[in-house]
Amino acid sequence: SQTIHQWPATLVQPVGSPLSLECTVEGTSNPNLYWYRQAAGRGLQLLFYSVGIGQISSEVPQNLSASRPQDRQFILSSKKLLLSDSGFYLCAWGSVGNQPQHFGDGTRLSIL
């Protein structure tokens, strides 16, 4: 069966520090991969998605970037974090067609 792993579960970072969140998927090949952010009291915002290795589509211009160095690995990064980057970050994978996406357990990011 397919599983998705996200880490760390929680992270506290100072303003201006770098960020790297990692997500890996097991049990499937060539998945679509997604990064979402959920701010407090708000819905989910799609940040990036990828349909293949090295292919990244950005949905919202911002301080973050994403990379997909391997088929089942998706990384969310920032060179300098802002206070507004605080939130709950979710990674998800999906397949082609009309199938749902499957989510990781999320990373709670707090910026001080």
């Binding site: 996200q6 679509n32 997604y34 819905g43 989910l44 799609l46 998605y49 990828s50 349909v51 589509s57 709950f88 979710l90 998800a92 999906g94 397949s95 082609v96 067609g97 009309n98 199938q99 749902p100 996406q101 499957h102 989510f103 990781g104 357990d105 999320g106 709670r108």
Partner: protein, 116 residues
Amino acid sequence: AQSVTQLDSHVSVSEGTPVLLRCNYSSSYSPSLFWYVQHPNKGLQLLLKYTSAATLVKGINGFEAEFKKSETSFHLTKPSAHMSDAAEYFCVVSDPYKAAGNKLTFGGGTRVLVKP
């Protein structure tokens, strides 16, 4: 363009009573529809999915939803609420033939409170 409207931002029910979460969608094609549940500080868990098969869809934990094309609705119900149902619920639409990368469109969420 796709859109999803969850008609109630908060729903409060007593344990053992029915739960109804309302969702209306807009899509230019025959969409796929999903309901997800999110417990605090957790990821989203798929409750059920409609993908153009039977219009009454049964999901996990006793939930079910009915797809009504004429009303463009996909309401989620459960006959008897349990304390563990307290969470946030998201109605989601997918239009894979229109949205690049199979992107999903999320409703704003409904937070369910279950009173003992």
